[in-house]
């Protein structure tokens, strides 16, 4: 349920992908002001100075003043816009990297990321779309799928719905049986078999797990994975970063400890999109500033989605390397053994024992990129991402699915530990509730209806 205040929202309104044009839409009271802070027109005119339905050509600049992309900015003034609010649409050259950069800049300037369907929701709350349309909107908001006909996600949404319906049907079957069995103890209701119950629950769980896994893969494909480059000082992290991004962003020097802040870049590696962070070198240090950087990295090592751990092929592993190897294992990791243009003396076996993948590159010479790419694709699931299977299309759906899975796991352990079935029933119903939230329906009535249609009960 959305609980929005009158803030200004922004999102990428076109499907993410390479090429074509991408539109970033900003809507709300401050949308023109925010757009003006990131956009500078060639003519020098401000967006706030032009009429509705007008456009200016210019460039988008990030907060340190460097140009991100050329852009046509179109202004729609309230109430003559899609949402009925002030709207600015920034049309850029597309590409995941640039479009994301523009969106981030807009958000840094004061917009908040729009929730799914929020533009349409606002359009309809402001009376901009009629009943037929608004019903379609309701369906989008409640994720009923039907209304997504206009979007490219149509087929996927339909698949998702039928996938969720399958899971729900399995669970409702069990819940209805459990309810009938509890509410009609003296009717001729078949006994509940724990085996059946467990097999139903695990069938439902594995379908959900697949969806959740595919979401992670889908995320790698669509939204990007938070990726950390780590390694002791001077093994070539920044060189790797530059090698991957193709431009000099990190300060590359030979003095250990030059990279202190975490620097972010979004790159495409095969099917995977990585939001790459170069980090301070991991080493024991007395320098207080460097220490802050190192601690920050250690913290992020637990929360990021992928680690690229860089080792120097030409040097023996030392104390700092061992410390870093110890830190691996929390999240998927690729050991990147750099400087293969020099003699390889590093203990590869030890590294392989801790990292999920191990590749050899020479960042300086630009060799080994293909190996690294396929390792990253494998590890992020991008390689196995199935464009045609059901996909949870946003974080909300992902949350609902995860919240539906959790009680099922608890239900299995409740059954296994010999808990009574009333507790199991409550857990199954909790799972159904979350699935119904995903699809925008409601639960308890569904079970009641199912009891009456499936079981012959009564006086």
């Amino acid at each position: 349920m959305s609980d929005f205040q009158n803030n200004t929202i922004a999102a990428i309104s076109t499907p993410l992908g390479q090429g074509g044009i991408s539109v970033i839409r900003i809507s709300g009271d401050n949308s023109i002001e925010i757009a003006d802070s990131v956009f500078k027109s060639v003519s020098g005119k401000k967006l706030s100075q032009i009429n509705g339905y007008s456009a200016l050509f210019g460039k988008i600049y990030d907060d340190d003043g460097s140009a991100l992309d050329e852009c046509v900015a179109t202004v729609f003034r309230s109430p003559h816009s899609y949402t009925g609010e002030n709207v600015v649409e920034l049309s850029c050259h597309g590409g995941i990297f640039v479009t994301n950069q523009v969106l981030r800049t807009v958000i840094k300037s004061g917009a908040v990321l729009a929730k799914p369907g929020e533009f349409t929701e606002r359009a309809f709350v402001n009376g901009k779309i009629d009943l037929t349309e608004s019903e379609a909107v309701m369906d989008i908001i409640s994720a009923k799928g039907k209304a997504a006909a206009r979007s490219a996600l149509n087929i996927k949404e339909g698949r998702l719905r039928s996938e969720i319906d399958d899971v729900k049907d399995l669970l409702i079957d069990s819940a209805a049986h459990l309810s009938a069995w509890a509410d009609y103890p003296e009717e001729d209701i078949p006994e509940i078999s724990t085996e059946n119950l467990l097999s139903n629950i695990s069938a439902a769980s594995s379908k959900l797990e697949k969806l959740i896994k595919n979401y992670d893969c889908g995320k790698a494909v669509k939204q990007g994975i938070d990726t950390l480059i780590v390694g002791k000082p001077n093994v070539g992290k920044s060189t790797l970063m530059n090698f991957l991004t193709g431009c000099e962003k990190s300060i590359v020097t030979d003095i250990p400890g030059t990279t202190r802040d975490i620097i972010e870049e979004t790159i495409v590696m095969g099917n995977a999109v990585l939001i790459l962070s170069d980090t301070a070198g991991l080493r024991d240090t007395d320098n207080p500033i460097e220490k802050i950087g190192v601690n920050l990295v250690k913290k992020r090592l637990q929360s990021c989605g992928l680690v690229l751990a860089v080792f120097d092929a030409s040097r023996q592993l030392d104390e700092d390397d061992f410390n870093m190897i110890d830190l691996l294992g929390e999240v998927p990791s690729v050991a990147v053994i750099n400087k293969t243009d020099l003699d390889c003396v590093v203990d590869v076996d030890l590294i392989k024992s801790k990292a999920n993948k191990c590749v050899f590159i020479s960042a300086a010479k630009g060799e080994g990129l293909d190996d690294l790419t396929s390792a990253v694709e494998d590890l992020t699931g991008a390689a196995e991402f199935d464009e045609n299977s059901a996909v949870l299309s946003n974080e909300r759906q992902f949350q609902c699915a995860s919240c539906a899975l959790e009680p099922l796991k608890q239900a299995v352990s409740a059954i296994e530990s010999g808990m009574t079935l009333d507790a199991v029933t409550v857990l199954i119903e909790e799972s159904i509730q979350n699935l119904l939230e995903l699809t925008g329906e409601r639960a308890s009535e569904t079970i009641v209806h199912s009891v009456f249609s499936k079981f012959c009960v009564g006086k």
Binding site: M1, N126, L131, I141, D183
Partner: protein, 619 residues
Amino acid sequence: MSYFAGKYDIAVVGAGHAGIEAGLAGARLGCKTVVFTINMDAVGNCPCNPSIGGTAKGHLVREIDALGGEMGKTADECMLQMRMLNRGKGPAVHSLRAQIDRRKYSEVMKHKLEKQENLELHQAEVVSIKELDGVWKLETRMGAEYEFKAVIIATGTYLGGRIFVGEVSYESGPDGIFPATFLGQSLKDLGISLRRFKTGTPARVLKSSIDFSDLEIQEGDEPPEPFSYDTEEILENKVVCHISWTNEKTKQIILDNIHRSPLFSGMIHGVGPRYCPSLEDKIVRFADKERHQLFIEPCGENTEEMYLQGMSSSLPEEVQLKFYHTIKGLENVVMMRCAYAIEYDCADPLQMDNTLEFMEHPGLYGAGQFNGSSGYEEAAAQGLVAGVNAALKIKGEEPMILDRSSSYIGTLVDDLVTKGANDPYRMMTSRSEYRLILRQDNADERLTPIGRRIGLISDERYNKFLKKQQLKADELKRIRNTVIAPSDKVNEIIVSRETSAITTGVKLVDLIKRPQLSYEILKPIDTDRPDLDSNIFEQIEVEVKYEGYIKKQLAQVEQMQRMEKKKLPADLDYKTIRGLRLEAQEKLNKVHPTNLGQASRISGVSPADISVLVIWLSK
């Protein structure tokens, strides 16, 4: 020909299970109350099954008792057999049921009404109801005119009642008592919308004509547990029930005669209960089911009438006799009263708020089957809610609104006034999302403080409750502090239940927590155990074993209550809120939810509509 019969506070129209609780609550809270019954011998009648309680209904009875109602006590006084249903399925679904002596039940209830201070019981058919300047005027068929501050309609199946047996159909209330013929029109004149529901009951047969020799016996629990927290006398099971089954022949006779059923021929227009179908309904809907179960239950100690639970029918009398004769044990059965279907008028409960008062008619309340529910217990629960709230309103006090997390009663009322009833509503455990906390064993803990605050719980009863709570707290403390040291004796008991032996000292509470163990099993090694009421041990055991689940449900309750705290104005016209879909506007205008939580439970109001309301509220 009319005369002025007097001014009172509360009128209760009907003296069935709803009317009784409504009348007693009103009078006990100090309001001058008149209870009208169409027939003095029909007070507290049980025209269907001779039993009180059952799944979820047992919860309702315990809750009525915890609030200071009468049903549980009278059921205990008139019990013939007690059974706790669903033992082994978990504490949330344990439900008590009493087979009762139905004539005795009716007599005891009537006597209680007669003895109640502030209460007058009159045999009269109310034919007209009018409101003038906040005064409700009722007129009886004999021309007696009364004035009231509040009226509670609890007409059961009497209102416009019509009986169907095969091709035969005539105006009647249940058990051959005449129906309420005129009140329906008078209610419609007030602007109240009525609709037709139907229900049915099986035949009563002569005990001596049944061959019990091959039938399975169903006995009561030993020792029988009472409903009421007030019942101190030791109960004793007096009867057994029997089980038999229908067969292919039964099915064939019904199918051969199905065209003679008023349900299938289209004579009955009323909507029947899905959970309580007639036998012909079951056979048609579940065509592949070979047999259906029936229970043979005694109607009382001083009668040979037996009730055939599961065999409700509206087929012609001779067809009934024919198919009853196909059933094992009933080959030569003599039918004393035939089965029948009954159609009646009832109100759409969406017209009422959570106090069961009609929103458009202040001072007018509905309860029981009149509100679209079914069942004695559902009726009694609503009677109590309506009676208490009518009295509280007259006294100028805050209403008693029980939310869904407080009780099955609250869930029942909320379901009725929020979702409405498209067929007669029956309580079920699956209707409560909070059933691990709304157990029949803790009804007193949940509701007795509320009953006390309202004024239905005596000092004596309340002190008893407080003492029990203290003993419970002490015992909880004791098991948390008692450490059981590992020993052969201890481990022998533990291991025999297929759970792991202990090697170091373990707190008693942690042993009770293990699903395989219980208070009872651990008795031999718990030498300091005080001698407490079994209900205390039961409650503690449940709370300890289900602690994680209970915490989880309490968190859900908290979430729900956040939504319930967002109040919606009573006079809000939802048509003026831009962004709400037409269907949602209409439903919201009909239900007039008191808060956002209730709004979100209305079918036809989507999460997006709720978003719109949230926005509207924040503006």
